[in-house]
Amino acid sequence: MAGTNTGSPVFDRIMTTVTSGSALAQAIQGSFPTAVTEVYSTAVVLDASAIVGVCGYLKDAPDLAFDYLADLTAVDYIDYFEVVYQLLSMGRNASATLKVRCQGRKALAVPSVTGVWHAANFLEREVYDLFGIDFPGHPDLRRIMLFEGFPGHPLRKDFLEFDHRTIAAAAQERE
């Protein structure tokens, strides 16, 4: 923080430790040698097929204990989609970022981590709704924000034309 205020009491500055990508990769590679495909400074990119196993391991391993899924979302990079998992360990006060990439724009699927964290239920439904990424293994994968039959997935970069007539027709068909 810029400048110091001498009048203020000074406390030990606790901060959430951001687990570096290399440390995370090392921890994962012990049990899942082929899971990590790329390592960044604060994140690792995982193979889609390994995500459930890795997440379960990260949650249950006592020295990692990422017991809290802070966020799950996706980003459209046009060539590929990236599903981003933000993990927190409340006991150790540490955070970690996992990523999974889906190449292409059709038939995207990432195994669901609902079995590991309950929080993934709604978050994966949201990603499914707005990005069209399938999550096999999800107990109740339906659209959550938009109605069933809504044409397209709005948060994709190619969702440009917002044609009211198409949507109205889809809504009517649903009725």
Partner: protein, 366 residues
């Protein structure tokens, strides 16, 4: 026991106590809830998509519209996320002003939460209006600072939009002088009330494990006894310079959440006292260009909003507008385990439990 055929009741989207447009499809056996399915999206306005077409500065007023009861916290979160992304640092006075605004906002938001919770329980008379009166005073202060009562657009990347006016400090001090006494009075009015206890104690119990697994945050998480407050655990702004405690619940029932909010109001007042005392002079804003172009990269910033952990995940491609603008809405995740909380309770409990979650549908649907 006599059982009737289960029947389906739509609670909401237009219902007095579903806080906006939450719709619950309840399967009931008489008064007992057999199954519940929340239906969201009635307020969906695709704000995340909208943000992708705005410059970083323009994203701030749109975040006001998400959690409209705690717009200052929304502004703070997005400002911190953009600063993280673009490597901007706000001056110290701005950091203090941000803390003051965020804590005032927490007081206002919790006052409102208590008021509507009581209304859901049926005490629609006095207590509701007393809490709204206190909230009104905070809104007056906000109006004085930034000209608006609900959608502030005050906290910006690089600081705050304007310095506080000279009458701001006396106004906050006046509020801090009168409010605790009234809070004591309301606590006497409410927390000892036998009916309120009967309605809340042991109702909607969330275990520690469920709270963690379901991604609950804020009073929902702390009500279940998990000691996790980002102001302590990962102090953003200058929260590490203040002495305050984190109230924790015991069982995780509605009463715990209700009381945790009460104590959080008190702790916020403690922080406010210290922040006003330490408020340094100086600049309130780092000069930043109107169109910020952060380097390509991503930033995830969590803050402790009144409703829980509010997160912003920004991805920049180096352009003027964010490539991806994701909001981790606390209310959205707090709704995630309704089935576990509601099944087996009665219709009256549904209202109490949903009230104790303190959802804001603007944030859930985004």
């Amino acid at each position: 026991m006599v059982t009737a055929n289960p029947f389906l009741v739509n609670m909401g989207p237009q219902h007095p106590s579903t806080h906006g447009v939450l719709r619950l499809r309840l399967v009931l056996d008489g008064e007992k809830v057999l199954n519940v399915e929340p239906v969201l999206g009635y307020l969906h306005s695709s704000k995340e998509k909208l943000q992708e077409e705005h410059t970083y500065l323009q994203t701030v007023p749109i975040t006001d519209r998400m959690d409209y009861l705690a717009a200052m916290s929304n502004n703070l979160g997005v400002a911190l996320a953009i600063e993280k992304l673009a490597g901007i640092e706000a001056p110290e006075r701005a950091q203090y002003l941000r803390v003051i605004m965020a804590e005032l906002q927490r007081v206002a938001s919790h006052c409102f939460a208590q008021a509507v919770f009581l209304q859901d329980l049926g005490a629609w008379g006095g207590p509701l209006m007393y809490f709204l009166r206190e909230r009104e005073q905070v809104l007056d202060i906000f109006e004085m600072v930034c000209g608006a009562r609900l959608t502030y657009n005050y906290i910006r990347p690089g600081g705050v939009s304007q310095d506080v006016p000279p009458e701001f400090l006396p106004a906050v001090h006046g509020f801090l002088a009168t409010f605790p006494k009234k809070l004591d009075e309301y606590e006497g009015l409410l927390t000892k009330n036998e009916i309120l206890r009967a309605r809340t104690v042991g109702v909607g119990v969330i275990s520690r494990e469920l709270a963690l697994s379901a991604g609950f945050s804020g009073p929902m998480l702390r009500g279940s006894g998990v000691d996790w407050d980002l102001r302590k655990q990962d102090p953003y702004c200058v929260y590490d310079r203040f002495a305050f405690d984190v109230p924790l619940g015991h069982v995780g029932d509605c009463y715990d959440r209700f009381m945790v909010r009460f104590y959080e109001i008190r702790e916020s007042l403690r922080i406010l006292h210290q922040a006003l005392e330490q408020l340094p002079p100086g600049e309130w804003k780092t000069p930043v260009p109107i169109v910020i172009r952060p380097p390509a990269g991503e930033a995830f910033q969590l803050i402790e909003s009144p409703r829980g952990m509010l997160g912003y995940y920004l991805v920049s491609d180096g352009g003027a507008a964010p490539w991806r603008f994701h909001v981790r809405a606390p209310s959205f995740l707090n709704l995630g385990a309704l089935n576990e909380m509601l099944v087996g309770s009665t219709v009256a409990d549904v209202v109490a439990i949903v009230g104790s979650i303190d959802i804001v549908m603007g944030e859930v649907d985004r």
